[in-house]
Symmetry: C2
Subunit: 119 residues, 2 copies
């Protein structure tokens, strides 16, 4: 049991779209990620996914709408719903999702992070 500082964790890596694990809560993990530019369209058939913006701006594009997240905003993407995260400026994001969730869901991509690191 210890304090985990998100800003400090975010100094430990620079790669965009490469989530790192900072904690586990039951069957879920808390990850942090940096984003810039466009990610890939994908969905997670078996899981919801939560994005909370700590810094910068993250737009979650859906097929029928866009949701813009500024610091202090969160959005839950329901399971099975196609989405594409886009950051017009660098963002720092906290993710809450089940252990083992693949960042690119059902889409194979160079951005697929098979085995995210603990930091």
């Amino acid at each position: 049991m210890k304090a985990i500082n998100l800003e400090e964790k975010l100094t430990k890596f620079d790669e965009y779209w490469s989530p790192r694990i900072v904690a586990e809560v039951n069957n879920h993990q808390i990850k942090v990620a940096k984003s810039l530019g466009s990610f890939v369209w994908h969905k997670h058939d078996d899981s919801d996914e939560m994005f909370l913006v700590i810094k910068g701006k993250l737009i979650i594009e859906f097929r029928d709408r866009k949701v813009t997240l500024n610091p202090g905003d969160l959005c839950v993407v329901p399971k099975g719903v196609e989405h594409r995260p886009v950051s017009p400026e660098e963002a720092h994001v906290l993710l809450f999702e089940p252990k083992g969730l693949l960042n690119t869901g059902d889409t194979k991509s160079d951005l697929t992070a098979d085995n995210p690191e603990w930091i």
Copy 2:
């Protein structure tokens, strides 16, 4: 799918130690709470619990240590571990915990919130 702003949600209530639900992610919920003073000693036999401080200061007392959380700090309390949250100054806190988790765990108290509201 929409943006949920935590600060705006936190303007909707004033009661301390009375978590409100803002979102669901799979079998878990995201809640916000305001804290001031001392909560009760308790544990959750079947669940971990995560505290992330948004504003102010929250100290999580354990039987053998204290963990001080400032804004941007989180702490996971493992299941079965006795703890008492204490806020020497008002804090705003984000909680990740399973649906139905009782705020006072195995301890019955006037602070027990049986049926937290969605806001």
